[in-house]
């Protein structure tokens, strides 16, 4: 006799029990996956970083740092190098007067020795007799 009543049919359906699922494979996975927390990993990373930095500091050659303690002096500026704004400032700062500073800058180039067999134009002109 087929079931006509909803309630009876529902009872009939409930006689079918859903199958039991396979066991949960959690014991191995959970404990293997979480042996170290984030904090532990961070600590390991920090230690490794410290070791690497200390090794690098120990083995890399030390290069003495060139420290400029004062402004360049006049002697330094007299070297045969092009005149820069920094040198000009230094000369102006250290010269007793403005004129002296300008003279110093102007005659810097003359401090260069002229090589053998060459003559300066001024020297040649001074030796030449002037026409009357």
């Amino acid at each position: 006799m087929p079931i006509r009543d909803d309630e009876q049919f529902e009872k009939y359906l409930k006689q079918f029990h859903p199958v039991v699922p396979e066991a949960l494979p959690m014991k191995e996975q959970v404990r293997v996956r979480r042996p170290l927390s984030f904090a532990a990993w961070a600590a390991v990373a920090a230690v490794l970083l410290a070791v690497v930095v200390s090794v690098l500091l120990h083995w890399l050659p030390h290069r003495p740092k060139e420290v400029r303690t004062s402004r360049p002096g006049v002697e330094e500026l007299n070297s045969p190098q092009p005149l820069t704004i920094a040198k000009a400032n230094a000369l102006l700062g250290e010269a007793p007067s403005f004129k002296a500073a300008v003279d110093n800058m102007a005659f810097q180039s003359e401090s260069k020795p002229i090589s053998e067999g060459r003559y300066s134009a001024l020297a040649l002109l001074s030796e030449e007799e002037t026409k009357q």
Binding site: H17, M26, V30, R33
Partner: protein
């Protein structure tokens, strides 16, 4: 380090609701083996997260998790349950009548997805229509209506054959 404190709790929930959850996942995926994978995936995730503790209705929450996981399964794109007659059984039938078990599976597979979900949730998941409504984001009346339609279709499908669908009284 967070302890594996939820393990006994989750194991208890698995043994208590596992069969109905497996059936629900099978009703969505169409295959028991895939449903089993989905169920394991959900419970292993629960072991890692703390979400379970925040759920007000743990049972409904579990069904929601299984539903989401089953629907997110990349292989379930078509949503039509193609029932394999040779597939693994979904039920332990009364009096080990496996022909009737297959009959029930076929009848469930023929239901529309929404009616099948409501039927499994109400009959074997033992969720109220209010809980089902929350889970499926529908009204309780809609859930009840879907259930009534599903029962009619199931009864027609299962009791069509002579000698099947015997009155349990």
């Amino acid at each position: 380090m967070r302890p594996t404190r939820t393990t006994p709790e989750v194991e208890q929930l698995y043994s208590q609701h596992g069969p109905a959850l497996l059936l629900f996942a099978a009703a969505i995926t169409g295959e028991r083996s895939r449903a089993q994978d989905v169920l394991h995936q959900v419970f292993l995730k629960l072991l890692e997260d703390q979400h379970l503790r925040r759920a007000a209705d743990v049972k409904a929450y579990l069904f929601a998790c299984v539903r989401n996981a089953a629907l997110n399964d990349a292989r379930v794109s078509r949503r039509n349950v193609a029932l394999d007659d040779e597939g693994l059984a979904w039920f332990e039938p009364p009096a080990r009548d496996f022909a009737e078990e297959k009959n029930l599976r076929r009848a469930l597979a023929e239901l529309p997805d929404d009616q099948r979900e409501v039927t499994v949730l109400h009959v074997w998941g033992e969720l109220t229509f209010a809980q089902i409504a929350d889970l499926l984001t529908i009204s309780a009346n809609t859930a009840a209506s879907r259930y009534r339609y599903a029962l009619v279709r199931l009864r027609e499908s299962m009791c069509a054959k002579e000698g099947s669908c015997a009155d349990p009284r």
